[in-house]
Amino acid sequence: MRLINRHPDRPSRLLLVILPFALVLFAYFMGSAERLADNPNDKLLPSAVQMTDAVKRLAFNADSRTGEYLLWQDTASSLRRLAIGLGIAALAGLCLGMAAGTLPLFGAPLSPMLTVLSMVPPLAILPILFIVFGLGELSKVMLIVIGITPALARDLEQRARDIPVELLIKAQTLGASTWTLMLRVVLPQLLPRLLISLRLMLGSAWLFLIAAEAIASTDGLGYRIFLVRRYLAMDVILPYVVWITLLAWLMDWGLKYLTRRAFPWYEGAAK
């Protein structure tokens, strides 16, 4: 049978899903054990025990200097910045995209502007943000907002244009004004798309967050990683990376679940 026609059955599919993860973990712990056998003080590939100890220290013992539980404090700070940044970006992206995609008079000036803005590398203007907004929370949130709003807006503009013109005409024959048409026809059709766009943007949002925290911050997941880098503390860095990945994956899954629950018509219509 040709390879293209062969499909895994249920049990072998599960096995195939687990296999690459298992291989990576196996390779890591083999390497770790080998290096630690050579040199028990090796810091590059810490063992599971060392990493567990580090996590215990950061998550369940209060920091002797501040009295805080560092892992949770870092997580709370990072998630707050991320949530505020994503929230503002979603709102701004939705408004801009909807206006540009639905109203030709707004689209004419907005559309080229958004295209140009989305080409500005956000990290290149990070110094400007620090100068303008200071080193506090605002500059970190602004980096996320500036980083993902243009892309969000452009995506939603395109989605708004994809709404068949027949539907817009139909709404007008049902007595809609421009405002009520946008409110009752365009907006509800863009909301599921907004959630999907946000899912795609999560990676960039985390990137900007970690970058901002690495450069100027006093807490946060990115701050911690770059702080302990000085001591080559891989036993902290690796669990932090895993934790960030898990958080990002959970947010992605949550948005996907929300899309399906809140907009049951969307999947059906996509068929």
Partner: protein, 275 residues
């Protein structure tokens, strides 16, 4: 006194003339179908009636008044596709037409007004045979049911004119005939002025009081044929058949297309038939 008056209407895109000197009168309550090959401008003409486009020259009067330059509640429309809102249930799709004009700020009603709107919508949906599917989304409906919903949605506005742009073009033949019967039944209850665009001659004759035959490049009215056959019309009757042949002849006898004669088909090389 005609209800819709079309006076010497031209439509041009850049150098291309799409409609050339159209003149037409449609009486109140009349069912008028426009039939023609693709490219004859019949859909363009419907867009003009709808207010989606404005004619380059000439004017269209509705009950003596110039037509509004944008779509409004006076003209209901059903397109071949994308006529219903995918994000609303069947009931809300129809109730929307009652909510939008009464709530300029939010576009939705609350409390007893909302209940009343939904009741009225449900009543109408019951009449067009969608009473069992009120909570379904359009994607869960068959093509025929979606078009039935689109018609109900247009009717709830009590428009002065109903415009139908190949409404049954995407349906299978059986469903199409069923929908044609239902459209006539709906019109028997409420004599609403209707303009239907189609490329299906049989559909045009079956439904219309008057058939307008259009020819392409540039779009022109070739002939206007009164259909005097009584309802319900029999597609197999001699008069129906004769009228259909006559209109088909009008449509095809423009030098672009000649219907093949049976003897010629037998003699054609195989390769030609295959393509």
């Amino acid at each position: 006194m005609s209800f819709i008056t079309v006076k010497n209407v031209w439509q041009q895109y850049a150098d291309q003339v799409v409609l050339e000197g159209l003149n037409l009168n449609v009486n109140e309550g009349e069912f008028c179908t426009l039939v023609g090959a693709s490219g004859c401008g019949k859909s363009t003409f419907l867009r003009l009636l709808l207010g989606q486009e404005t004619a380059s020259r000439g004017e269209i009067l509705l009950d003596g008044q110039p037509l509004a330059r944008e779509p409004d509640a006076s003209r209901g429309v059903v397109f071949q596709r994308y006529s219903v809102f995918p994000h609303l249930t069947v009931l809300d799709n129809v109730a929307l037409g009652l909510e939008l004009p009464r709530s300029p700020l939010l576009g939705r009603l609350f409390g007893s007004a909302k209940r009343q709107a939904r009741e009225d919508a449900a009543h109408l949906l019951d009449k067009v045979g969608l009473g069992h599917a009120l909570d379904k989304y359009p994607a869960q409906l068959s093509g025929g049911m979606q078009q039935r919903l689109a018609i109900a949605q247009a009717l709830i506005m009590k428009p002065r004119v109903l415009l139908l742009d190949e409404p049954f073009g995407a349906l299978d033949a059986l469903t199409r005939q069923q929908m044609q019967d239902e459209l006539l039944a709906i019109r028997a209850r409420a004599k609403i002025t209707t303009v239907l665009v189609t490329h299906d001659v049989e559909e045009a004759i079956f439904l219309a009081d008057r058939v307008v035959v259009m020819e392409p490049r540039p779009g022109r009215i070739k002939q206007v044929v009164d259909v005097a056959l009584p309802h319900p019309r029999q597609r197999s009757s001699f008069e129906f058949h004769q009228l259909r042949e006559e209109l088909l002849h009008e449509l095809t006898n423009d030098g672009h297309y000649q219907p093949p004669v049976r003897e010629q088909i037998r003699d054609l090389p195989l390769a030609f038939i295959a393509c």
